[in-house]
Symmetry: C2
Subunit: 264 residues, 2 copies
């Protein structure tokens, strides 16, 4: 993570002592968190609801609107650290404790007019988490909660968070294809059916349980069997085997959601 040690030449040190940083245009820098999860269906039988954590803003600008949780980066704070801090504030979860939680930077959004207060560049972070306890509103929010992504009205989020969310969803859907990150939406131990419901919820498509089973158990490094069965569900049926996340970071071959051989 840290960059190389560098011998700073004396003339550069001298130059730096006289350098005036106020000559450059000052920007605000924020982090926003696109925290995604898959929450069980009401009945518990369906594929689950792909949901995002939103807050209702209690301060200007966009007071009263829904928004992604976020905030300004501190002067000496790393971007990733700011995102994790915001995550802890909103959810009382720190990624270090939950090894399943996945955090990944999503890019930078910096349209000049995106914040009415001043020039602000936002660096959103994409987070995959298993179904977690209900969040509690923090100091500056009226309300916090999970919203199924298909219930988020286009154009109703504060700032440019519609675009940020859209970018996060697209990235999440793509990541499930070639990484084992679907398991980041599952608890520590999970069944193949749990994992399949994640794919179905995120992609919005039904998958054949039999082919899915053969596929994921046959992909090296994806799943590690626990050797113990899960408790039987409410509808009865043969108990499923439990698995944990395997060591793989990419999937070979990938899980393909789409369109093999379709025209453009």
């Amino acid at each position: 993570m840290s960059s190389r040690r560098r011998e700073v030449p004396e003339d550069e040190r001298a130059w730096l002592r006289t350098y005036d940083p106020t000559g450059f245009a000052p920007f605000g820098v924020t982090v926003d968190v696109v925290l995604l999860t898959v929450r069980p269906d009401e009945a518990g039988t369906g594929p689950g609801r792909f949901s995002v954590l939103l807050v209702e803003r209690d301060t200007h600008p966009f007071r009263g609107d829904l928004a992604l949780p976020g905030g300004f980066v501190q002067p000496a704070e790393d971007l990733d650290a700011a995102a994790v801090r915001r995550l802890e504030q909103e959810l009382r979860v720190r990624p270090g404790d939950h090894p399943g939680v996945h955090v990944e930077q999503l890019g930078a959004f910096g349209r000049p007019e995106r914040d009415p207060r001043m020039r602000v560049v936002s660096v959103p972070y994409l987070v995959f988490a298993p179904d977690l306890p209900a969040p509690v509103p923090g100091g500056r929010t009226r309300w916090v909660g999970w919203v199924p992504v298909e219930d988020v009205d286009a154009g109703r989020l504060a700032f440019d968070h519609d675009q940020v969310l859209a970018a996060g969803l697209e990235r999440a859907r793509a990541k499930l294809e070639y990484t084992p990150l679907a398991a980041a939406f599952c608890p520590d131990e999970f069944t193949v059916a749990d994992l399949r419901k994640v794919y179905e919820a995120v992609w919005g498509t039904a998958l054949d349980p039999r082919n899915f089973h053969r596929k994921v158990t046959g992909t090296p490094g994806f799943l590690v069997p626990v050797g113990r069965p899960a408790p039987v569900g409410p509808g009865g049926g043969r108990p499923a085997a439990l698995f944990r996340r395997g060591p793989a970071t990419t999937l070979h071959p990938a899980m393909l959601r789409a369109a093999r051989g379709r025209p453009t």
Copy 2:
């Protein structure tokens, strides 16, 4: 691109009139350009050299070191616009003129100590360009030139540009798999062999010309035949057909560089 029109409530307008933006920590924001191309081999027979445009800095900090071209974003300038401006300055090429040139944001780099002057967040852009005329040094650089990526000494670039370049290379290699962007490294009209040399240079692997030909010509939307042959090369041989970029934005099925069915 532009966000929704929003009715700004009167109380927010009033609040905004009294808002003091100097309360937040000021950051500098820069763009850096990871401009990649594939330049012909010395002999013209090999796969070509995958190269990046680097500048030698003529100002502090890191004076005398190699770096990616970049600079501060102007107060009212969009991030993408700043990257394009920097590109034009360095290469006298504007992406609009060259429809082949591909520009894509690569993320945000913001370690607190990455710039000794002040807190700076950099937003690098990845650019794919065909082999272009030699660039000319601008005002603040001693030297500009193409450097084959394998000749870039690890740890020798200014700031954290090693990490930025590494991220750009990884992204470029991945993009060639599932998008038709390899053609962005080719001139307007090109042969299948030209395209294959791009893949070989970027991935650093040899590809079977016969399977490659069948693959790319059979992928819908990838290539559009011009209906005219290219001039015969120096070594003789049957003249190759010319193609242009097709309308596809993603490839189905993807070009796979790697490892089908290999263990993790």
